[in-house]
Symmetry: C2
Subunit: 324 residues, 2 copies
Amino acid sequence: MARVVRGGIDLGGTKIETVVVDSRSQVLGSARRPTPTKGGPADVATAMVAALKDACQTAGFASDQLRGVGVGAPGIIDPQTGAVSTALNLPNWRDSYPLGERLAEAFGTEVRVGNDVQVATDGEFELGAGRPYRSVLGVFWGTGVGGGIVLDGKPWIGRGGGGEIGHTVVRMNGRRCPCGRRGCMEGYSGRAALEARARKLVEEGEKTDLFKLMQKHDRPRLTSSIWARALDQGDKLATALLDEAYEALGNGIASAVNLLDVEAVIIGGGLGIRFGQEGADRIASEMSPHLYHDLQPPDVLVAALGDVGGAVGAALLVRKTARR
Amino acid sequence: MARVVRGGIDLGGTKIETVVVDSRSQVLGSARRPTPTKGGPADVATAMVAALKDACQTAGFASDQLRGVGVGAPGIIDPQTGAVSTALNLPNWRDSYPLGERLAEAFGTEVRVGNDVQVATDGEFELGAGRPYRSVLGVFWGTGVGGGIVLDGKPWIGRGGGGEIGHTVVRMNGRRCPCGRRGCMEGYSGRAALEARARKLVEEGEKTDLFKLMQKHDRPRLTSSIWARALDQGDKLATALLDEAYEALGNGIASAVNLLDVEAVIIGGGLGIRFGQEGADRIASEMSPHLYHDLQPPDVLVAALGDVGGAVGAALLVRKTARR
């Protein structure tokens, strides 16, 4: 009897992560491709198909053996049809595109599409750092800052738009966020906001090695590894900006914990994974002075599934298909 | 056959509100007594018994006819035993006191004790402004600012300490809150914080009629009605402080909505009730620029049960007793 395997795809603004997992969600193979920055949704879908086929090959399965493919995507998602719209970090993806249908045709199996941050949180809750708990807040600290909520074992997304912890106001009338609003936590801590801030300060005459490191390592932007290198070198501007980022994360996450009193906060995302448990500990330490019940703080843990966590979480969306 | 009636008590830092309700939660009688400011928990319990007896008299029932008494209390509550500790707004109430047992002896019926803000939210959810919705955030804007959460029809209190929306940080390193932390929403909007701020500004030489109005109307503090009068007179300092309070409430509540995406926000509490739907509309307007999904804002409504809402909500705690 053939083994039952499922596919998982995490569609990010920078890269497409894919996995093939078995019925116990063990990763049998994985692959990564860059997200197209030109073209449109059809080109992105083509790259997703190719990336998941790569993962199948790595795992030693033909792609038509997949029983179910789960996708975590940004933007506005119709969970019934798998259509995705308003994915503003992806090329020309404003209108609705039938992503689920397109992938179902390519793989000949059921495809389900969920919110990228929520499936990553579900993955950590069921399989990763969240396993000991019944209620967790996932904070994905990368290009932006996203959030996922699990309360009493169940995801909470409100009317479909919940979890936007990045847009917690940590400073009234504060800095402009990439979203256009003022004072959001993401405006002080997201990778894109940090890069924009660094560029502005350099234009104003401040010194930093951040952009030299970027060129030396041939990166198109200030990636999490560039930030980590700059910190290791003791770069003063990078250190000051990250200090501010940790402070904003501590204030904003403490506010969410004061409201929800979850058992654990799980820190993922590109920067979150890069800075690891040490970074999670710094966030916990910045949260502490703002926790109303400071004698009963939540555990603050780095995500355990690493870079493939979003894809593994996405594959959970089609668990039932695979179990049939 | 005797009618089945229940008692409800809302134990606040300033006053004790009590109601007698029928099986459909209609208020048959109500009474109010000031909360003792001296003595200790036993004196507060004695005043609570007297206040609920007053309500029974108003309703035309003997107090031994009550079938169940529900209490909303501040502090840390053991919902199994009805013991209350750390009620810091009440006189010498740090250690655990068996409030539930004491009231059960006095009335010869089952007594259940819940969190004051959560029972008020439950009351609005089931009987008041929250009835059309499945998920609501209650914000009680009074001496402090408390919050209650109902998600998919069920209260959410986390590990028992959730709902502390007043301690959402709206300004990193901002003003000192009465709780001792920095930048909390309550520090800019709670009645106690507003009064402390007004006193400080007067000491620094600013002019206001707030304290003259307080003396004229023989109040021991700047009550919500004093604030309302000062606004009506166009008092500049009062207007500026309330403007700032609305801004802080808008920022902090928008942050909570970005996280939870509830259908409705219900504004209660002394100041919330005083400023009514007009005040709720101002809060909605201050929230708007900070809502991530600004095309799908929640409804923002003033609490419908008024001053007795907390007591009516408390009586819901013993609904099952009464239905036996």
